[in-house]
Symmetry: C2
Subunit: 249 residues, 2 copies
């Protein structure tokens, strides 16, 4: 989720968490990270999201954030344990970077000669460390959002050629999302509608919880609501979301 | 806390959290990190620990860990916000490193020419980044606990000469603690006693929650219980705790 004003994620997370073992088979752990300014709240748990006491906290406690990345895991590589749960976090140039991956990179372990090394043993964390290493080489300090987008558009295909590589990345200023196969986004803005969750019998009238200037973009692998207009990413597309909307350029 | 078997911290944390605004003036945020194998659960909040919904979760949810570092903040440098809450986390050599500082380093901003840069603006995170930079220069990969202790005994005085520098550091294998002024530890082992919290009217009979082989070391700036034998660190002492006891050497 990427927004122009701090927004809580309790509605979307309620549906999303159901997929962690109840309405879907992604039951091998989960995680979520919320930026607050430059700071980060990072929660991971190797229990299924639908049963996790930490997920219950997130559902009940409206953490306000402008950039949120959440993930539910279906283990393809790496055991079910805490260090293999997404999203992963690293610091670069005095900023935290948060990454989550949906997909599977086969037999791909690029050499890590820089300062980023995986703690767990997933293909995803390895790919993230490689991305961070290459970003560190490409820029001397935090580049502009536009420059970062250009660099990521060069780097992503090098990973995506080895398998399925839907990913999201945020440094708290923007949300970058890359599709191999399945990625969708919705931009919520005035006039806000009543949305109906796909995974649970719950609806929300966003108009009651927003002001007319609010903008919220949500990017997912499968649409979360049944009555909103979700746009599918084309294969190999990388978009950047800033202030709650897709940034064109 | 450092233990030889995964142990929950709910008893100690209940007393500790009271100092975050109720029995003590450390009300400018708090944080706690739990290692689970190489993985990490990291919680920070800029609300006082005694009022924080996340602290309430920690009090109620018995997370089992062998290495835990918790901190309640009294802001001396840097604003009250999420990025300035301890403990801080960085990755080095494919391991997470967790650091918390009690004290104040005056006018000391050593040059950071390596790969670790503060996200917030505290003296503490700056000192941590410098420590990580110097560790990275001193060893090619994760060194043994003994080697790391030797390196830290060389590095700590360089920071401590600039102010008060009580700190704790863990990579999930051991807990290093350095005292400038106030640091105490207790080693709990068989036969376990009933302990009485200093900060809340609560006692626990550890014998009912342990097995005879369990060992737990707890290091604090002020003793948490009134009826256990706490040992004070001498000024400038750095100790390492492994498997629930102080490691001599």
């Amino acid at each position: 989720m990427n927004c122009n004003t701090p927004t809580d994620v309790t509605f979307s997370f309620t549906g999303f968490a159901q997929r962690g073992g109840r309405t879907d088979h992604h039951a091998d752990g989960w995680g979520i990270a919320f930026f607050e300014d430059r700071g980060l709240r990072h929660f991971v748990d190797h229990q299924p999201a639908c049963e996790s006491p930490v997920a219950e906290l997130i559902r009940r406690y409206p953490i306000q954030s402008r950039n949120v990345i959440a993930h539910i895991r279906k283990a393809t590589q790496g055991e079910v344990n805490l260090q293999n749960c997404h999203p992963f976090v690293r610091e670069l140039w005095g900023r935290y970077w948060v990454f989550a991956h949906n997909g599977d990179l086969k037999d791909f372990r690029p050499r890590l000669h820089g300062n980023f090394h995986p703690v767990g043993n997933t293909d995803s964390e390895h790919a993230f460390c490689w991305l961070m290493q290459e970003l560190a080489k490409s820029h001397a300090g935090v580049p502009s959002i536009e420059e970062l987008t250009l660099t990521l558009r060069e780097l992503a295909p090098q990973l995506a050629s080895h398998g399925t590589f839907n990913f999201m990345l945020s440094n708290g200023q923007a949300l970058w999302a890359h599709a191999s196969t399945n990625l969708w986004y919705v931009e919520r803005r005035h006039p806000f509608v009543t949305a109906q969750l796909s995974d649970e019998d719950l609806e929300i009238d966003f108009a009651q919880h927003t002001t007319p200037t609010d903008r919220v973009a949500v990017v997912v692998t499968t649409p979360l609501t049944t009555n909103e207009t979700w746009t599918q990413f084309a294969p190999s597309e990388l978009h950047v979301f800033v202030d709650g909307q897709r940034s064109v350029g």
